[in-house]
Subunit: 441 residues, 2 copies
């Protein structure tokens, strides 16, 4: 299994924020890592797009020939930190086929994989670790796959995208609008030049797919995750949220759902939702991440920490690297992909949630009754209604605003109701529709 | 490695709250566990002190011959949930010597072991898992040993004893005294008939020893952990804590300390401390547990959940059981004890903390200056002083109270100062001395 002198050979692909930090850890902590592994690590090479002398590492370690690097005889473990899906996929498959264990932080790739990576690892009898793919430094993958291996996970709900959490936290605390908060996030380096993957929820959906897959022993891909972004959230939504004792968070939710016939499903979804201030996720602000896991025996657990950034992500990668190296030394293997349950994914229409609906209406008698009737018709039970006058800038009444909080109902019934409300003559405009999570019925 | 038909044979020792729940999980979740392990579990027997028909399990599974049970040919894994140190130690050693992997929640035993259990597991090439020994269902051991295996842990600070946290939370929220809160905790089943192990900090110290050992790759035993209990905390302390924007928590703290000569030490200590309300541990109330880990690359992580109780503890035990069983099926092994660093334990006198000192003094000019001089003499820098008049029940002034908050100084200097203050003529009484944690300098 070993290359020269019982050293564990490592190839790192990618030398961005995370890759540089991983290389630093391998170098600076060499003695500690060797003691924990049982053999020293040897960094055999670093795969980059462009070999240059100014990358802060010895230039002779650099190579742009990824294919050659991942098949080297003296490489035991490949750490993939290149992103995006390609060329990472090709490099990982090639590494696995060459019998190398692989550590990756590539959530986009993992969340679309229909099993080819896991199967390649299985065929080669090597490890495929990806703790850093979800929530950076926060241990989430290992607790779900190992610590909770004897329990039944019921629900995973997390704030797993730092960019959107920073934007929403700023909108909440500073009362600013979405565009201003996004500009602030960009200025601070929390948002990318094209923020689409973050603000439209694609990143959170990729992580939800990975979390749902491991929590429920079922392969869920990113395109099976229902997804809404945060671009339509307004300061008025935050004002209403506060009045209700809530804030607004972009949540990645994975749930085990048992239907009326006793059949089990997996629901995986990402959307901005009202969260009560008393809920542990409400206090997770700025670029921090947190994941709440509810399991049958364990009850509710929360994991909190830095979900992104070079050093925190590198910590998770280095942990995987040590475990994979240790397995090489002992001739052991870590957990394999578990997808024996293969539960079907529940369509969003059948998911049961609570809704918050805010609408501008004509200020005349009978409007509330007309509005309430639309909910009743679809058997959506109303928990709370608030009605208040709306005035123009001169203080003259120009209508009223009705806010409805529903009890739990299917998303289909709630969507239908909202569509019907929008068609009512007395409703000028449905201003906002948000789900409400983390409360009782 | 296998007994009959590729089943993994399990013996459970102890049938209390946790044992019963583990037996239930093995039975009720049999299909799921088999799929995750790769082979079904077979419960071979349950070791109890007294065999009787009314224990809720088939009586033929029960035996009071522990020695025979743990050496049975068809047993692969022994789950020890008997406590206390003996007869558990003897049973575990016997199981390991017979080549069985062991899962235990026995923090008292683990915290006094000087390595004999780890060595026995090593000699037999089997697993010794103990996730349930610290913080019940909350994954802490596995994240520290595996997820952070590539990082450098700087500090672990936790609320790991539910009984004392319940008592302190009640004292804080209801303004009641220690004895009343203890009685409430007993009535609710949160405190045992003899609460010494909890309220004097022995349980928290045992867990600190385990956490320090794994976090710093150093063997720390319970008797090396500095320990103070919560029995002297008064409602007045909580009133002052609130005035300072703090609450009081019993903390288990494990720290990597670098001295002036660059030498590294481990500090492990348990005491009640003032904690700012803005610190994540301040919000951990009632019987809940939480552990905050600070690592070089990962930054600050927090793990939160139920730290005790039959079901949550059984969840952690069952996770270990599945991992140990899976290793049996694959011929793999999990992480071994790592104590290569063997850092010396820092004496409490050399530990640097901040102090809060409350004293009753004569109400006359110059007292504050006299008091301050005692701090200055020992180079303890004062951060904040509050002085206020104290009146008797009729409203007549009878003296004054001085509260001092210090900057960081060694425990030895602070203890000396407090002793000198108590000897001053102008000081009637040093009412309370508490450390302050979780703040800047």
């Amino acid at each position: 299994m070993f290359s020269q002198e019982k050293r564990v050979g490592v190839a790192v692909l990618g030398l961005g924020n995370v890759g540089s930090e991983v290389v630093r850890i391998i170098h600076d902590n060499a003695d500690d890592l060797a003691a924990r592994i049982g053999a020293p690590l040897a960094l055999r090479g670093i795969g980059v797009r462009r070999v240059a002398a100014d990358r802060g590492v010895p230039v002779e370690l650099l190579t742009d020939n990824i294919e050659e690097l991942v098949s080297r005889e003296d490489v035991d473990i490949v750490v993939e930190l290149m992103g995006p899906v390609e060329p990472a996929r090709k490099a990982i498959l090639s590494a696995l086929e060459n019998g190398k264990s692989v550590v990756t932080a590539n959530k986009a790739l993992l969340s679309i994989s229909t099993g080819e990576l896991a199967q390649a690892a299985e065929s080669a009898h090597v490890d495929l670790y990806f703790e850093a793919a979800v929530a950076g430094a926060i241990p989430v993958i290992r607790p779900l796959t190992q610590s909770l291996a004897g329990d039944t996970v019921l629900r995973v709900a997390g704030i797993v995208n730092g960019t959107t959490n920073y934007i929403l936290s700023e909108m909440d605390s500073a009362g600013i609008d979405y565009q201003t908060a996004l500009a602030d996030a960009s200025a601070l380096g929390y948002a990318e030049a094209d923020p689409t993957a973050d603000v439209e929820g694609y990143d959170a959906a990729a992580k939800a797919a990975i979390l749902a897959s491991i929590a429920f022993h079922t392969r869920v891909t990113a395109d099976e995750v229902y997804r809404e972004g945060i671009t339509k959230i307004t300061p008025a939504d935050f004002a209403f949220a506060r009045a209700l004792g809530c804030t607004i968070k972009l949540l990645s939710i994975c749930e085990r759902v048992t239907d009326g016939d006793g059949r089990q499903w997996v629901s995986a979804r990402v959307y901005p939702a009202l969260v009560p201030l008393t809920h542990p996720l409400a206090a997770v602000n700025g670029a921090f991440n947190a994941v709440v896991v509810e399991a049958e025996a364990a009850g509710r657990l929360m994991f909190y920490g830095q979900g992104a950034g070079g050093a925190p992500t590198a910590s998770a990668v280095a942990g995987d690297l040590v475990m994979a190296a240790r397995n090489r030394v002992l001739g052991s293997r870590g957990p394999r992909e578990s997808r024996y349950a293969q539960l079907p994914v529940l369509p969003i229409g059948s998911v049961s949630t609570r809704y918050y609906v805010s609408m501008h209406v004509a200020d005349k008698p009978g409007v509330l009754s007309t509005v309430a009737a639309e909910f009743a018709k679809r058997e959506v039970s109303i928990a709370e209604v608030r009605q208040e006058g709306v005035a123009d800038e001169g203080g003259h009444p120009i209508g009223a605003r009705i806010v409805v909080i529903t009890h739990r109902a299917t998303d289909a019934a709630l969507s239908d109701t909202v569509a019907a409300l929008a068609d009512l003559d007395v409703v000028q405009r449905v201003a906002s529709v948000l789900r409400l999570e983390g409360t009782a019925e």
